[in-house]
């Protein structure tokens, strides 16, 4: 079944106001273009699940798409603070943000339980942490094998998961390499799943290396070609991270009005990701170019 579609169509079909949506990608393969399309379509009341926050969290907050956040790291990586997020958390400005906080290990466990249709997942690291005291969703169970009680975190099953990858075939078999984050688990945990990719490739390429597939087609609802869809994050083998963009954001976002202006110009006034990229300028990706380094082929040969 051909599941390719446009980003606008995919988001419009599979996302609804009030949904919990997971956008995963750990500093690499981040579904930025998809986040922008969510802003463009003016969704509201969403709860975002995202382990490690970044510019898109500030942008979704600035666009008033989010009422809640489920996360374990709320800075802009090494680039500084996320000021929209801080205004919401520190001053309820312009309104409070429901923040369901874990550690990375806790988020990994929540996605795993969600993907596995288990009610919860045990985790060994929370004894003595104020996080386990403050967050009422971190609970404990007794150990029937005689050890001390152990903490458990609840399953996370987003209404929609969106991930970005290097490539997929038209059916939605998705391949990615480099740092993989929690994308496979987030994908299986989601009730619906959209995958954006740098390129749609012929299935013969996917099928020449089946161990490279991180998400099998049968759980994918829509697959969308969105070249440069992870900028300002990197895509291994395609383009480098744009640290300047991320640093500039942390400066710009100190001013709420500047965030509004940026969103108007860059998202609302552009029709799609291609127009967004055009604003960056034709040569913007020149300095983000990468040096090729190809894998040694392996032999999948069998009887035949």
């Amino acid at each position: 079944m051909d599941k390719t579609t446009s980003l606008s169509q995919a988001i419009g079909t599979h996302l609804h106001n009030g949904d919990t949506v997971a956008l995963e990608g750990f500093g690499h393969l981040v579904p930025v273009a998809a986040a922008h399309e969510i802003i463009r379509q003016k969704f509201t009341g969403l709860t975002l699940a995202r382990m490690s926050c970044d510019v898109i969290v500030d942008q979704l907050l600035g666009a008033d798409c989010l009422q809640g956040l489920i996360s374990s790291f709320v800075a802009n990586s090494s680039a500084g603070s996320l000021y929209e997020l801080r205004r919401r958390v520190e001053h309820s400005d312009p309104e409070p943000l429901w923040f369901d906080e874990y550690s990375h290990g806790g988020m990994v466990a929540r996605y795993q339980a969600g993907a596995s249709k288990l009610p919860f997942q045990p985790i060994a690291s929370y004894r003595g942490s104020d996080l386990a005291i403050k967050n009422p969703r971190i609970k404990s169970v007794t150990d029937p094998f005689g050890g001390p009680p152990i903490h458990v975190v609840p399953a996370l099953n987003p209404d929609l998961t969106i991930v970005h990858a290097q490539r997929a075939d038209r059916e939605g078999n998705v391949q990615a390499w480099g740092m993989l984050g929690i994308q496979t688990e987030a994908a299986f945990a989601g009730r619906r799943l959209i995958v954006t990719v740098e390129e749609i490739v012929d299935e013969s390429i996917i099928r020449s290396d089946p161990n490279r597939t991180i998400i099998p087609a049968h759980i994918v609802d829509a697959v969308v070609a969105v070249p440069r869809g992870a900028h300002p994050h990197s895509v291994q083998g395609y383009y480098d991270r744009d640290d300047e963009f991320s640093r500039d954001w942390s400066t710009l976002a100190r001013d709420a009005e500047a965030v509004r202006d940026w969103l108007q110009t860059n998202i609302h006034d552009t029709a799609d990701h291609a127009e967004f990229l055009a604003l960056l300028g034709d040569d913007h990706f020149d300095r983000l170019s990468i040096k090729d380094a190809f894998s040694t082929p392996v032999n999948y040969g069998g009887r035949g």
Partner: protein
């Protein structure tokens, strides 16, 4: 050149952090200076170190210093890139790490860390910090934790944390629920003033060395609790020209971390 006067605090911290890694093998690198310190250790006291990054990369040999733990420059030529489930479940929780190398906003006398907030209300903090990331898991799963703190002040070395993000084993023992941490917690704290160490669960951090020219009384003043000072307090050995040259010319020539 007189290397004693033009050494930055970052260089000093990095060099002493690197030295502390002698003999260690599997090291988990948090955000920031730890990455640079481990690179220096690999070039000097601990060539066998295998760095493990939160992003799942092991055995990285980046041509450039990575700008963060998720910089894709870490990947080409690395020995492995693990899925995050393996990194958090099997490597960190699986107790495969010898040293977790962390930073924090606040530390207390037993080595509990705060990287979550400043203020007294989790829901409405005065200042919201990044949060745990993988720090809670590194503290709970690593055999020991090294802490690097850029500024040793009473606001960072505190009697009571505003929020216990990553608990010391002593703090964990006082809780009623959950698995006890696998390791010793924070065993080394490297700051711009000196070095503190501890080992047993109920042992406090003790000032065991000060940097040349630092008065131990000043370190005590800059600490928010009555800091113990070792009877045999030492003065740290100054950075060597080799260490400085490696740092400045080979490892971080564009001063990503050496600000």
């Amino acid at each position: 050149m007189n290397i004693g006067t033009d050494i930055t605090s970052s260089e000093l911290l990095t060099i002493h952090s690197a030295r502390a890694l002698a003999g260690r093998r599997v090291v988990f690198a948090g955000h920031g200076l730890p990455t640079l310190a481990i690179a220096l250790a690999q070039h000097t006291v601990a060539p066998e170190i295998e760095i493990v990054y939160e992003s799942g990369v092991t055995g990285a040999r980046p041509p450039d210093l990575p700008r963060s733990i998720s910089d894709s420059v870490l990947v080409p030529g690395a020995a492995s890139v693990m899925p995050m489930t393996h990194l958090f479940n099997y490597v960190l929780q699986g107790q495969r790490v010898d040293v977790g190398f962390l930073g924090a906003a606040q530390v207390d006398r037993y080595g509990s860390l705060n990287s979550t907030l400043i203020g007294d209300d989790w829901e409405h903090p005065e200042s919201r910090l990044p949060g745990s990331g993988g720090a809670i898991e590194a503290m709970a799963g690593a055999a020991e934790v090294f802490l690097v703190m850029r500024r040793h002040t009473p606001r960072t070395f505190v009697e009571t944390l505003d929020f216990v993000t990553s608990p010391s084993p002593r703090q964990a023992a006082q809780a009623e629920v959950g698995s006890m941490p696998a390791g010793a917690g924070v065993t080394h704290v490297i700051t711009d003033l000196g070095i503190m160490t501890r080992s047993a669960r109920d042992e406090e951090l003790t000032l065991t060395a000060v940097h040349p020219g630092i008065d131990p009384a000043e370190v005590v003043r800059q600490t928010g609790w009555d800091l113990k000072v070792a009877a045999d307090l030492e003065s740290t050995r100054p950075p060597t020209p080799e260490e400085l040259s490696l740092l400045r010319e080979t490892l971080d020539p564009s001063r990503v971390y050496l600000r």
